[in-house]
């Protein structure tokens, strides 16, 4: 934990940053620029927490970051709706390796992810699936996967309740949380790979 002078100096610097940000927000008239500037105010708010420099600060930053990111995304959506902006055009790329490599590399990454398990495993396997879906496209509906992801998240929360209420069943809860977070991270990341709006690989081949 930082104490005494260092903390005072740090908060002083952050206070100056806050003032600069406020002046910038006051002078700026363009809505998009103001949106970006509020992003920088979020960074300052998180820095103030980070300056605690304890384990507690680490635990506090994550929810703060999630809430601030959610607000930033919500505001961006409102901005797009408000200005009536069309979705950005997508550029197709056709590279030979993108049609042959995905099954092998995706498979390796998913198996390695299952071995790792937990959050890291979910991330690794998810990267494999992102690569696969982005390169080869997809035809399925993904609402089912989203539902599974939601239930996995509920399992994860339930595991935490077991930790708090029935601590003697901790091993069961660890297993449950590990599996659930694996499924959740994996599916969430796989969905990123399916975000390409139109023109799957097969479609472009026929054209």
């Amino acid at each position: 934990m930082i104490t005494g002078d260092a903390y005072l100096v740090g908060t002083g610097v952050l206070f100056i940053a806050v003032i600069i940000c406020m002046i910038a927000l006051m002078r700026e008239k363009d809505d998009l620029h103001r949106l970006i500037l509020t992003g920088s105010t979020e960074v300052i708010a998180l820095s103030i927490i980070a300056f605690l420099a304890t384990d507690l600060a680490e635990a506090l930053i994550l929810p703060g970051l999630v809430v601030s990111l959610a607000e930033l995304v919500a505001l961006s959506e409102i901005y797009i709706n408000k200005e009536g902006l069309p979705p950005a055009p997508v550029q197709e790329h056709t590279i030979e390796a993108f049609s042959s490599a995905p099954p092998i590399i995706g498979c390796i990454l998913v198996i390695y992810g299952i071995v790792l398990s937990g959050f890291t495993g979910g991330a690794v396997a998810g990267v494999g699936l992102i690569f696969y879906f982005m390169c080869l496209g997809h035809h399925e509906q993904f609402e089912l996967l989203e539902t599974v992801s939601g239930y996995a998240w509920v399992l994860w929360v339930l595991a935490f309740f077991i930790f708090m209420i029935l601590p003697s069943y901790w091993f069961f809860a660890v297993m449950m949380a590990g599996t659930a977070i694996f499924a959740k991270v994996l599916i969430k990341m796989a969905l990123i790979g399916t975000m390409k709006p139109s023109g799957t690989r097969e479609d472009t081949d026929h054209v």
Binding site: L25, T41, L56, K82
Partner: protein, 219 residues
Amino acid sequence: MFDIPIEGPALFTLAFGDIVDYFSPYTLILFIFAALFIALAILSRPEQHTDIIFGTDGVYTKGIPADQQKFQRFMAIACGLAAMGAVVSGDIFNFCIFTSMVGLTCIGIVASSQSRHVLNAAFEYGIVTMIAMIPLFGGAALIAATTGTLSIWELAKDTITVPFAAKTFLLLGVMGEGMAPFYVAKAEITRAQGAPYILMIHVSSLLIFLRIIEIVITI
């Protein structure tokens, strides 16, 4: 703890590990109030906005698309749940998180609207809530830095003094997050389509203001 006049005796505590939520007559009333309005949001049907065609006897009704209504109802319920969490929380940081969730869901309630002036008001309010996160989280961080704890149970003890600046920051932050009714009035959306859900904005804002007063007096 529980020795200020508005608070009343302790009724019930709910422990999640070391985070202990508490109900006193004061917070219980706020909790029931939030629960009541969640029930209203679930049960009530949205108001249909009727306009008279000028110079004739004709009227027309502006309906709400079903998906928009679903989204507004979901956001109103989420807003009520966040306000519930904020009024019973026994931890300053949880209160801050729930308060910023109230701000986020207040944007969500009006975000599915198609009219531009409503979206403009929501955008302006969103920028205020994001700026308000600096004093809100700054106040919480300052309390943790000076006292070493964020639990209201600990902070309420006489041996710990919370700096006046931290209390002011918390209050400022809640003022920013609870600014929503001002923008509702500014955009005149109180009687726009989906009126019962807009009520939740006012209710949640009122609840977090009442709770921060209790917190500032207690700690």
